[in-house]
Subunit: 420 residues, 2 copies
Amino acid sequence: MAKKKNAFYAQSGGVTAVINASAAGVIETARKHKDKIGKVYAGRNGIIGALSEDLIDTSKESAKDIAALCDTPSGAFGSCRYKLKGLAENQREYERLIEVFKAHDIGYFFYNGGGDSADTCYKVSQLSEKMGYPVQAIHVPKTVDNDLPITDCCPGFGSVAKYVAVSVREASFDVASMAKTSTKVFVLEVMGRHAGWIAAAGGLASDKKCELPIVILFPEVAFNKERFLAKVDEMVKKHGYCSVVVSEGVKGEDGKFLSDQGARDAFGHAQLGGAAPVIANMVKEALGYKFHWAVADYLQRAARHIASKTDVEQAYALGKKAVELALKGENAVMPAILRTSDKPYKWKIATAPLDKVANVEKMMPPEFISADGFGITDACRTYLAPLIMGEAYPPFKNGLPQYVQLKNIAVEKKLPPFEV
Amino acid sequence: MAKKKNAFYAQSGGVTAVINASAAGVIETARKHKDKIGKVYAGRNGIIGALSEDLIDTSKESAKDIAALCDTPSGAFGSCRYKLKGLAENQREYERLIEVFKAHDIGYFFYNGGGDSADTCYKVSQLSEKMGYPVQAIHVPKTVDNDLPITDCCPGFGSVAKYVAVSVREASFDVASMAKTSTKVFVLEVMGRHAGWIAAAGGLASDKKCELPIVILFPEVAFNKERFLAKVDEMVKKHGYCSVVVSEGVKGEDGKFLSDQGARDAFGHAQLGGAAPVIANMVKEALGYKFHWAVADYLQRAARHIASKTDVEQAYALGKKAVELALKGENAVMPAILRTSDKPYKWKIATAPLDKVANVEKMMPPEFISADGFGITDACRTYLAPLIMGEAYPPFKNGLPQYVQLKNIAVEKKLPPFEV
């Protein structure tokens, strides 16, 4: 790129404990290359901010506040759940994106998200070329689901995994204390509609130095009530108690979500519950064991206070690398984590072409799930263990983590409004 | 005490992130006074261990492992939910306790628990005197519910409060990022059947430097659906989103728990759910806002990884003081936290007579709840703020907290079995 251009950065989909670290990586690196990159504009609420020309001028934020993004969970500029459809059905929106980029002299598009946004990123790159306003589109990976291909892992996942492993260890200690006269089974529901990566992390709570009875329910394994109850009963009889980690996406052999049990409230309305209470009640009814259950929900992905240092570092490094790739003239690519060694854990950053990333889901390989379907294998441990390594505590003041709230000052609009 | 006696220590009721710190305080202090205190025996699974003569010889544990109790959540010797009835109805059990104490030359009884165990502790002191085998009974306060009288706060509460404040702050940042196109209301259910202390801690997530829209539902305030929905709607219209912290003990104006909505599963069985999904569905149905909900359950009280340093220190200090009081010849008392200054926070340990502690519940004072019933007042903040101050991270290895599992070696039995 001969001419200096501005950059656009947006966060997409569910946010994580470390997506802002990627934002910091992008912005800080761009600031170091002022000869080539002008301003970094962020989309307010993700790609919607680009479509509606609601851009945030990140140059108005202090270096200190941008650095503080590394310690702050959530999406500092707002995210959105908004998938651009295919080019054929939705050329209008893609064209609008290019118009906005053109109006604001944007030559770099950094899109921080999962599989859907990799797809959008790829299409923007294609269309901008076609429209005679070529934009270098670089995808920055992010998803707690850990389901992107090529990259060894996805920023956001390591921190959720650490949260789940730590929480299951802590709750297991708690249940163990209570089991004699009270709670014998603790059920924790975790995220993962399709892939069981997060549930698998619950297995890390138990290791050779600290053995704990844990039963995992993966979305990859059809739920069999009899086998599950037999497993729980065996664990309780042997250890006095057990913890169950259930993925929200677990389905019965009928293909229906466990959480959708047709429960109705007093007015006949469908009762939306989680998988955890369903599992817990099942245990109580069949085995009579007293239970407790928890649903971690957003707490797991927002838990910056117990983020994985490895995850924070990789999130930052991928944001930084995205800018470096752009400066090298790369287009339609994603920087990806390449593991070069398990023990000691070593990684570097490779470059993946976006057409190989978009819309491909990486599931748990069968060899990561134990033969009985309720645990993780040593291969899975070897894969997961480095991802939760290291602590990266945010600064605390008065007992609370200090998370930055940016000024998020809007860039003046230049175009007529656009209906999103 | 002229003659050297052994001591008995037991953990009672729901365990906490810091009850083991009190155990460490008791055991380490006793070890420093070997001229007066022989061995410290712990009850396996609380008072049941005493009744069944299942005693643990803590002298078999290394100094390192006892020190590690300060970093370990749960009850290291096991706890129980078992309330000894009144002396009249249940003289048999009290007498058995004294027999066991006598058989093992136990002259000190340290009971670590809440209101019920303060009552048991008091009765043991009375009865042992009557039976001619006087035991010095000292109660060590513990309860996440923070509902013991006289003491300014209860060990275990500060750490739950910190967990809830941190989690609500993190989840609120998350929802704020998603609110434009997705989740607008996040509901977190926390413990507190009778008193709203834990729910109140959610209010700390928002402060002058970091304002966040939070609605709190206290068990002290009868739930009014219309007023609640109006409050949520107002918050969402003003801020784009809001977080709701609901105490598990919230009741409607009919006196029924919110969580008990008469839901039935497909087979007509009562569906045990939490208050959080009920609240979340209510918001969705009335206001149409997309929601997420979480139930923290055991995670909140077991979360040693984010324990309050103040709480850990007080838990230890109270265990230590209990032994010092015993050495001074005190009986039927509880060491209690006495706050001597809010800013800077200062405290010392006073001595409370057990007959003033037993069976008295300390509720939230009305002046701690805001006029609209959905928030906390400045007076409440002043009270709560110091209790979550300071971090006391446990040691981590391979990304996981290192919690100690004791050997818990049994003391040889000397008496015939006893039916508990």
